[in-house]
Amino acid sequence: MSLASPYCLSQLAASGVGLLFALAPIGIFVARRPLGSRLTYAACMLICSGLAGVALIALLTPGPRIASIEIPVGLPLGRTLLGFDPLSAAFAVIINVTSAIISGYAIGYGAHAREPLRIVPFYPAFIAGMNLVLLAQDAFSFLVGWEFMSLASWALVVSEHNSAENRRAALVYLIMATGGALALLLAFGLLAGPEGGYAFDQIRRAASSGVGSIVMILALVGAGSKAGLVPLHAWLPLAHPAAPSHVSALMSGVMTKVAVYGFVRLVFDLSGPPLWWWSIPVLLAAGITALLGVLYALMEHDLKRLLAYHTVENIGIIFIGLGLSLAFKAGGLGSAAALALVAAIFHVFNHSLFKSLLFLGSGAVLNATGERDMEHMGGLIHRMPVTAVAFLAGCIAISALPPFNGFVSEWLTFQAILLSPQLPQWVPRLLVPAIGATLACSAALAAACFVKAFGMTFLGRPRSSVATTAHETDRWSRAAMLVFAALCLLAGVLPGFVIDSISPVTQMVVGSRLTPQSALPWFRIIPINSARSAYDGLLLFVMILVATAATALIVRRFASHALRRSPAWDCGFRDASPATQYTAGSFAQPIRRVFGSVVFRAREHVTMPKPGDTAVAKLRLEFHDTVWEALYLPVIHVFEATTDRLNKLQFLTIRNYLTLVFSALVLLLIIVGTLR
């Protein structure tokens, strides 16, 4: 049996996951010493690389796809099946590549942890849980992995438990994660049917679209809450930043992708042929998510929270692709569905790269300055040059600007949107352009947001003393960030290879695939046909390089070489303090005025003293988290009110309790008497 046989691959992958699980208890014992934690992270890196390799082989090997191995542990009344099919293999490549690099970063970064015992053991468990979700070919192991992933990441979020804010974040996270998992549990219950066929192939065989609709809604709630779809995103901007930065990178860059996988698995693979209206809730939620996510991010001055909100936006973009694919699939438009799905999964890949990169960068900054608030940063480009370069690459990539990778997936999504006139139903046909508009808006706002993020953090003058004394981060961290930056560029200029790797997934899930792309001249990508659209990242990149070089050469040849350093001119206002710079708040002010007054009910209250009065002028900003206030607070209030009311039952007299028993007795007697 060859090493590349699916069966052997599944075994390899399963043992990799087993190793990761085993690493967790080992971590408890070795975490006390810095070397121990470094070795643990290194082991994670190696295992993840191995898993990524295995998954890549599984993805690219043609032939019989699903070769699950059965392991004797797990559900007592069912079978535990593990293995890769193209869908899970593709996601496994993505998450393991990212996890491996993040683990590399952690080799250096993890040494800064104050209480490594609260982090190191959970880290491999977290990755293992995510891998288990992907490997699972039955509902039980899927959910075990899912919950394990939530649980391990919860432990990591609460690792800095001394701050009340973090504790609250962890709590909200755990509760919402469990709520989501329960929704998935219901979905699987429905799919498995009364006979309890929990294995995925059993479910596929029994698939009927009667239950599919409910499963779709449940999956949207369950996976959507994990991924961060508005309005189920509330935990995400709390929890992701609360964790140590390498874990934030894992949560934002990797875990949300597992949630996307869950959605694809449930809706595209398991719940049978889609109905036309399924795409509508998905698209609506996705559009709102994309737009609200970026607006929230713009209002945020905490670097990590900004990034977390941006994850929400990107999840919206991914779900736009998924929704489109669902619409096309339901409309019988195979190749369009394939295009949309490719766009979505490509964006999954991209987002995992650049969001991890950005979180790692924020970790480096946090470590250097001890600050997450951008209002206290500035000018770090001088003191952390490598981090700055990598972070800049991430910013450009996430703002969907060519020639980086973020643009390619967004471009593909736009191409898919432009195919929407072919849809048979009116509702999605009218909805899709509007979604396109929100996508365009969110892309533009994202650029604004990352100008702010990079500009306030790395550019300008230092706004606090910690920013002046910051230092560059360690070697491992720098290397990891540079690798991410390089991958972002590489995926942007050579997208054909990525698309071709995703094709087996579309073949499996929507039954169609794009034409092979990687063999086209100049590594161009032509998703539909060349007269319609094409993109050539490599050529574009070369052109930009050549043009830049040419300009630089010409200028160098002809221009004066004289260069003088002098204080900033600033229209003559010399020697102003760094406090006169634009801050994150002032940068976002125009956008807040334009969008925020509606979305966040943002109001500015200015108290201006009379002329001659020496009192301080004050600007107070009123700001509402509309989603939280409209959706979550009422639930919390109802819950509190109910418990208040029920709690009186704890303080009754014995006689009252006897009355309860007595009434129950009389009631049951009456029931029995009337039922006969």
Binding site: G378, I381, H382, L392, I396, S399, A400, L401, Q415, L418, P421, Q422, R429, L430, A434, G436, A437, A440, A444, A447, A448, F450, V451, G455, L459, G460, R461, R524, S530, R532, S533, A534, Y535, D536, L539, L540, M543, I544, A547, T548, T551, V555, A559, S560, A562, L563, R564, R565, P567, A568, W569, D570, F573, P578, Q581, F587, A588, P590, I591, V594
Partner: protein
């Protein structure tokens, strides 16, 4: 093959050479409309040369980004401008990118410019970057929606294909196209710092946007940025010309005569657009900053409306 490359190269050179001239022409027309004599149309070339020869002053705390940004901005804009058909369609490199890519390339340039504005850490730079990004957050989607309308109309996002389609028999008059045109014009005005939105000729005014961002630049850096700005204007006008008045544009490999005609037509179109642009500029007054989003919002709405009307009025292909 070689001829194709030559044509392409000539386009690359053409846009580069023509861009300052376009600026010069608009300034001249503007001056005339204001009953001034105005500088010569080649004045922008002189300005650029002058700037290039001057000593460059860089703020003390400026980083490498500040110095590298002008070149990158210029290069991206240049590449984008190259990709828009001017006198001929179907050039060698045009397959590398479609309309969406062009919009995105401009986005990259804007992104870098905004960062450069923040680099020195002055209040003016911040104002400029912040407002530029706010405008862009409406202008870019508006432009994309116009692009959507065109692409759906022509069934392609490739500019050459769209241009050819517009020439062909299937393109009729459509309300959507008109809406797209208006949207595109508004975006052109907004993105090129033209008058109701921004004033390219002033300094030291709190409402300035573009000029505020490049306030710290001088010498050769400023020259490169100014060149990029004029390239951008050229790009937008070429784009409108190529899509909405495609007549006279040569098809690829059509021969020297066709190219000559195309070139002439292109020049004429540019001149006409420049005139209308300036005419409009002189006729309106500068807006307050927070009126601009409404102005650009109109473009976004028109673009979206155009797209949706298209869905309603046309049988899907």
């Amino acid at each position: 093959m070689i001829q194709a490359w030559l044509t392409q190269l000539s386009q690359v050179a053409l846009v580069l050479g023509l861009a300052p001239l376009l600026s010069g022409v608009t300034r001249k027309i503007r001056a005339r409309l204001l009953r001034r004599r105005g500088p010569s149309v080649v004045q922008p070339y002189r300005d650029l040369l002058k700037l290039i020869r001057k000593e460059t002053v860089v703020a003390e705390n400026a980083s490498w980004l500040f110095r590298a940004a002008p070149y990158a901005i210029f290069a991206t804009t240049w590449v984008a401008a190259t990709l828009v058909p001017t006198f001929a369609t179907g050039l060698t490199l045009s397959g590398a990118a479609d309309l969406i890519v062009i919009v995105a390339l401009l986005g990259t340039a804007r992104f870098l410019l905004a960062l450069a504005g923040l680099d020195v850490g002055t209040s003016f730079g911040g104002i400029g970057s912040s407002r530029e990004m706010m405008f862009a957050s409406l202008a870019e989607p508006a432009m994309l929606m116009a692009v959507f309308t065109l692409s759906l109309f022509a069934g392609s996002t490739q500019l050459s294909s769209i241009s050819t389609f517009m020439l062909g028999p299937n393109a009729g008059l459509s309300i959507s196209i008109a809406l797209a045109l208006i949207a595109l014009v508004i975006v052109t005005i907004g993105e090129n710092a033209r008058i109701p939105v921004d004033n390219p000729a002033t300094h030291l005014e709190l409402t300035m946007v573009h000029e505020a961002m490049i306030l710290e630049y001088s010498g050769r850096h400023l020259a490169v940025i100014e060149a990029a700005a004029s390239l951008k204007l050229l790009l937008y006008l070429s784009l409108i010309a190529c899509v909405f008045v495609p007549w006279g544009t040569a098809a690829s490999g059509a021969g020297a005569l066709a190219y000559a005609i195309g070139l002439g037509a292109y020049a004429a179109k540019l001149a006409a657009f420049a005139f209308f642009l300036v005419l409009f500029e002189t006729a309106v007054a500068k807006m307050r900053v927070f009126r601009v989003p409404e102005f650009l919002g109109v473009a976004l709405m028109l673009g979206l409306l155009g797209t949706i009307l298209l869905f309603v009025s046309r049988v899907p292909r």
